[in-house]
Symmetry: C2
């Protein structure tokens, strides 16, 4: 977990002024507008998939710093409010920018992964996270051919599972399996029934009349094996999915 | 395991004379030609898939009876010789009768399951059994559309996995997963590397250009999950594969 004293967060992609804001939020949270900081972090996460993959760590560090300094949770409240707003408008976000949507799911999963209350994941995030993953496992996300964006988003090269080259076409499938690798086991502990339902959708994906791409099939097959093996990769599965494909 | 004193073997499908031969082989093996008995059992197994699924039990009982009475293994030698002959001619058998071939694989797997030496499966059968399963997982077995036979074989209704209706088209896939359910775990213990290789073929099946039928996809998906979960069916997988499909 984060140590607010160490400035190893991925903030190089922010402009100089915002970098300063974030550094201050980590060191002296009372000196900045923490609601603004929360919005800055969410805005940036929706545009930068690399950042969104690790942003939860920085959020946790700011929450810890604020709690220690002032015993307050202005930042956390601001963060969760903003996450909820984006959650409610997620279909619009998805329609507007597939990459923004995928970045959002990455971000909320990462926040779920890092934010702890009494060393437990936040219950309030369990269902929103599940809802996002269900959306990624929806037939039109699994099989639809995605249009290539205008190139203004910066996510292009970041969505890869080991040696696999991921196209925009399977961006949502790729995000789904990445998040399940990362938080699937924790999510299942919080609500096994929803995980069972999610895997019904995933298995059904193989039967879609529109078909899956070969890459999507492999990604889904791998996550099915991964969960069945108790959320781990067996050596044989590792060899199959992560070595042979690169040949 | 079989008790040669109890005549509960599935011999009703034999003619009266052969039934008598088998009953004598079980009670007083020295009184009959045990090599002939072995041939009768193999011949019948190749024609009757219901019998071939349980024939190993009867073979084991005759072996035990002969060993107890005379300390010999004429029957076992005859059985293994005949199994080897059929094994060597398996491609011809498959070309001649797909149902005969599937019955053969069922039989050899059942013999592997029942015959024990010092309470261990017979090493001599491990590679032949694997070779048969590899043949079933070969691309042309997984994806090819099979022609319907002449109806003279009696296997029609016996090849079903729970509620699934199996067509001739997926007969080999169906046999593959049935045998893996039955002897997969034991086989893996005898030779893990070959099991890993077999599952590479099975996973590759999803990527075949000619495609798999929906039923074949489900069957293979189920066996992949089954093995990944340590050769057992999780409750969620059971519900998915064995309940929902019947809706």
């Amino acid at each position: 977990m984060g140590d607010p004293g160490r400035e190893e967060y991925k903030i190089q992609s922010f402009d100089a002024e915002t970098q300063q804001l974030l550094k201050t939020a980590l060191k002296d949270p009372g000196a900045v507008d923490l609601e603004k900081v929360a919005n800055v972090i969410v805005d940036h996460s929706l545009q930068d998939c690399v950042f969104s993959k690790e942003a939860g760590r920085m959020c946790y560090a700011i929450i810890q710093a604020e709690s220690k300094q002032a015993g307050q949770s202005v930042f956390r409240r601001g963060l969760l409010n903003r996450l909820q707003q984006e959650y409610q408008a997620r279909e619009q976000l998805r329609a507007r920018s597939l990459q923004g949507w995928v970045c959002y799911v990455t971000f909320i999963c990462n926040v779920f992964d890092y934010l702890r209350v009494n060393n437990m994941p936040m219950m309030a995030l369990v269902n929103p996270v599940y809802d996002c993953l269900f959306r990624l496992a929806h037939p039109d996300s699994l099989s639809k051919e995605e249009e290539v964006g205008d190139g203004s988003d910066s996510c292009g090269g970041s969505w890869s599972l080991a040696q696999l080259n991921t196209s925009l076409q399977s961006m949502e499938v790729d995000c789904l399996v990445l998040q399940l690798h990362r938080v699937g086991e924790q999510l299942e502990k919080m609500n096994r029934q929803r995980m069972d339902e999610l895997f019904v959708l995933i298995r059904d994906g193989f039967l879609l009349p529109s078909g899956l791409s070969s890459l999507a099939q492999l990604l889904l097959l791998e996550i099915i094996e991964f969960r069945a093996a108790g959320w781990k990769t067996t050596p044989a599965a590792h060899k199959y999915y992560y070595s042979e494909l690169s040949d």
